[in-house]
């Protein structure tokens, strides 16, 4: 096998791998990425409710409560214009606070309650999930540093 042929065979294997990877990526991107919605986006854009969504905003003051089973937590995510009720079965992150930013991921269940299986709260005073920060800035609720 000459040097040229050898090089060609490796390039072909490489291209085949890249094509496989591209196919995997494209199919995965259509199935498994999750779009972010603020409570107002949900009202305006009306996403299909059976898909997995990420919803974020501020945790409404005084909205955190336990469901009758004693372990499912409910709270309201708001951007002050609109609200969404979220239920989450589990232990909330330590920095989850009423009146502060939160991002949740899950699906809508029966009765219009968003059933989250993941709750991300900010980790320190200087951090707010970027998409939450931007949607809050848009609705004029929060005036953090530009671009943060």
């Amino acid at each position: 096998m000459t040097r040229k042929q050898r090089r060609m065979s490796f390039i072909l294997v490489g291209l085949a791998l890249l094509a496989t990877a591209a196919a995997l990526v494209l199919s995965a991107l259509s199935d498994s990425i999750v779009y972010f919605y603020s409570p107002t986006d949900l009202v305006e854009k009306k996403p299909k409710l059976d898909q997995r969504l990420r919803i974020g905003g501020l945790v409404k003051e005084g909205s955190r409560s336990y469901a009758p089973d004693g372990v499912t937590i409910r709270f309201v995510v708001t951007d002050t214009a609109n609200d969404v009720t979220v239920s989450y079965k589990g232990v909330l992150p330590d920095l989850f606070r009423e009146g502060q930013g939160v991002a949740t991921e899950g699906r809508f269940g029966p009765g219009g309650v968003f059933v989250a299986d993941e709750v991300l709260a900010k980790h320190d005073e200087n951090y707010m999930p970027p998409e939450v920060a931007e949607s809050l800035r848009k609705s004029g609720v929060w005036k953090g540093k530009e671009g943060q």
Binding site: V25, D94, E105, D124, N126
Partner: protein, 659 residues
């Protein structure tokens, strides 16, 4: 005063790094040995200056000098000493100073051990290191000065985020940085070689130990981080495919590819320009990772104190370093002469396949990590890309890599007998088949993917054992002969077998803990019990506790197995008054068979508490596997062939068995 000294030392280091980055380059171009000799001296002095600066910052933290703004914002007098020290790099400014300190340490190591390098190569490598150092010191001085004073000084500091008050902070970032920054060595050697226009096996013998050392540190750093994220609640478990986690994983993947391709350069004098490209990419990905972590452009559960302005500086640095190196590569790489020929079925061919799969995997992870940014930039909306994406793309790419790993390790150089090697791997294939059938029989066909994954693990582990057994001719002669052969086997062979086998351990841990995890959430009153993983947990209530700088509530679960008490798990909810934050600490019983993991939730009526109990089967194997991989790397590092500066000398026997 000491803070000013620290800043002064850093400015001095900046100036010296500039000298180190320019004059030796000119010296190498003019073949002036006096100018080139400046490289070593300045690298040593630069390291001492940066170290002094780092020491000054550490001093400020230890004595709680709150007139230094950084200390006031991130420390507190009541904080335990371990966290005062690790708090130095628990913030952005300090962690960048640690970054630069490690960079300077590597530079000095080349200066100290590089006496047998050609003068011009040594001068150029140190100069590139100096330029990188100068850029990062400038970054610290101009955007993130850790020595800024506060006037008037506050009486007390704000304290460190309690989540970071953990032994994990003391070890995870330094190891990670040793890895990230260690790849700067491969980068500097690559750029120096491009300037020289020459890459030879001697060059690879130099690059490989540095890459290997950096890779070991990065592997250990990622493993420690993964373990920390596992026991710390709210970080998504041992691996979350979070952007910050991916930021460390991409350089690891590229670094692993580099590690393997450098072997081909060293042994066969082939794949040179590809190896150079990987060396450039490995460090570029480290810089990109630093940018992603520091800028906060992506939503992460691990984001701390991010600042977009600083992000822009690092992005510019990344573009300059990567762009410059790739331009140089484009100009010079075609002139690098290719070396030994080889057939597709050969050790070289297998290593090429390894490289293609690893780099494609790295590209997929990179794409998934950056996709939200790309889509947002073109106005496609806000998205998040999580585990489902990576499981669907990355895992299918790694399966062939794992399967080929065992075969490739046994192929001979140049041209190999695939059928013969597969025949010798019969034992590994049978073991894999046995494991798959056993799991399907015990767990049913619903777990067939997990069964196949465990089969792959058996293939890796038994395959590595077969590889060693073949080399020492076990069972084919007297045992004493095999033992003496084992002693004579190059350390690199042992290292490879250990690392490849460890990969199997890692796969077992990942598979079992993902497929057969048990999770229970319930309200428990004192005296009530739950069972998980063969253990019975009895809740005996919650009591108040008091720590050095926190107070809290501790739940108590008595764990029994077959009626015998095993231990008492004490998950806690802590409140740190200085920082005004609370944390939840899990109670964990770690065994080889699996982890029992208890979390105390919130109180309910009648002394009942919401509790979460998990059983994570074989989860500790994940970190054991990763650490054994790092151990394999270290064993390989002790190979006399790679010993930096050692003359190439080995007994005839060792040479024969190394081939």
């Amino acid at each position: 005063m000491i803070a000013e000294a620290g800043q002064f030392a850093l400015i001095l280091a900046f100036v010296i790094a500039l000298v180190q980055g320019t004059i030796p380059l000119a010296g190498a171009a003019k073949n002036n040995s006096r100018l080139m000799a400046l490289a070593g001296t300045s690298a040593a002095v630069q390291f001492l200056c940066v170290l002094a600066s780092f020491g000054c910052l550490m001093h400020a933290f230890i004595v709680s000098d709150f007139s230094v703004s950084n200390v006031a914002q991130n420390s507190h007098t009541l904080k335990p000493m371990l966290y005062k020290i690790s708090g130095v790099w628990g913030n952005h400014e300090g962690s960048m100073l640690l970054w630069v300190t490690i960079l300077a340490l590597f530079g000095m190591a080349v200066a100290a051990f590089g006496n047998n390098l050609p003068d011009s190569l040594r001068a150029r490598v140190l100069a590139i290191q100096g330029l990188i150092g100068a850029a990062f010191i400038a970054f610290i001085l101009f955007t993130s000065n850790p020595f800024l004073r506060l006037d008037p000084a506050p009486l007390q500091g704000n304290g460190l985020n309690p989540i970071l008050q953990d032994p994990g902070l003391a070890f995870h970032p330094p190891f990670l940085y040793l890895g990230y920054v260690g790849f700067s060595m491969a980068f500097s050697f690559a750029v120096a070689a491009l300037i020289e226009g020459r890459v030879d096996p001697a060059w690879a013998r130099w690059v490989r130990p540095w890459t290997l050392a950096a890779w070991c540190a990065l592997t250990a750093g990622i493993a420690l981080g993964s373990w920390w994220a596992y026991y710390e609640l709210g970080w998504g478990g041992w691996w979350f495919w979070d952007p910050v986690e991916n930021a460390s994983f991409i350089p690891w993947l590229v670094g692993t590819a580099l590690l393997h391709s450098a072997i081909v350069v060293e042994k066969r004098d082939a794949l040179k320009s590809w190896t150079i490209l990987l060396a450039i990419l490995a460090f570029s990905m480290s810089l990109l990772g630093t940018f992603l972590v520091r800028s906060g452009v992506l939503t992460s559960v691990h984001a701390f104190a991010t600042d977009p302005e600083r992000g822009v500086f690092i992005l510019a640095l990344f573009l300059a370093v990567t762009g410059g190196a790739l331009t140089l590569y484009a100009i010079r790489a075609p002139s690098l002469k290719g070396g030994g020929l080889f057939a597709p079925i050969s050790r070289e061919g297998a290593l090429v396949l390894n490289n293609l799969l690893l780099t494609t995997g790295a590209a997929v992870v990179l794409l998934g990590t950056l996709y939200p940014l790309i889509l947002d930039a073109v106005g496609g909306g806000k998205v998040s890309v999580g585990a489902p994406f990576f499981n669907a793309t990355f895992v299918p790419l790694m399966v062939p890599a794992l399967l080929a790993c065992t075969v490739g390790a046994m192929l001979s150089w140049k041209r190999a007998d695939l059928a013969g090697v597969l025949g010798r791997l019969k034992a590994a294939a049978l073991a894999a088949l046995f494991v798959v059938l056993l799991i399907v029989w015990r767990k049913g066909t619903g777990d067939v993917l997990a069964a196949l994954a465990l089969g792959v693990a058996a293939w890796l582990i038994v395959g590595s054992a077969v590889e060693i057994a073949e080399r020492i001719a076990l069972f084919r002669g007297p045992l004493t002969q095999s033992l003496s052969r084992a002693a004579g086997l190059p350390r690199a062979a042992w290292g490879m077998a250990v690392a490849h086998g460890a990969l199997g351990i890692l796969v077992i841990g990942i598979t079992a803990s993902s497929a057969w995890r048990v999770e229970m959430i319930q309200l428990m009153k004192p005296g009530e019990t739950v069972s998980a993983g063969g253990y019975t947990l009895t809740f005996s209530g919650a009591v108040p506790i008091k720590g050095p700088n926190y107070e809290g509530i501790q739940g108590q679960f008595t764990v029994t197995r077959d009626g015998n008490e095993v231990t008492v798990l004490r998950p806690e909810k802590r409140r740190y008054p200085a920082e005004g934050d609370s944390t939840t600490e899990a109670g964990i019983l770690t065994t080889i068979g699996g982890d029992l993991y208890a979390v105390l939730g919130d109180p309910s009526e009648n002394e009942a508490w919401s509790t979460r109990i998990y059983f994570n089967p074989l989860v500790a194997w994940i970190w054991a596997g990763a650490l054994f991989m790092a151990l394999g790397g270290m064993i390989s590092l002790t190979d006399r062939r790679l010993r930096v500066g050692a003359p190439k000398r080995a007994s005839k026997h060792a040479v024969a068995s190394a081939e």
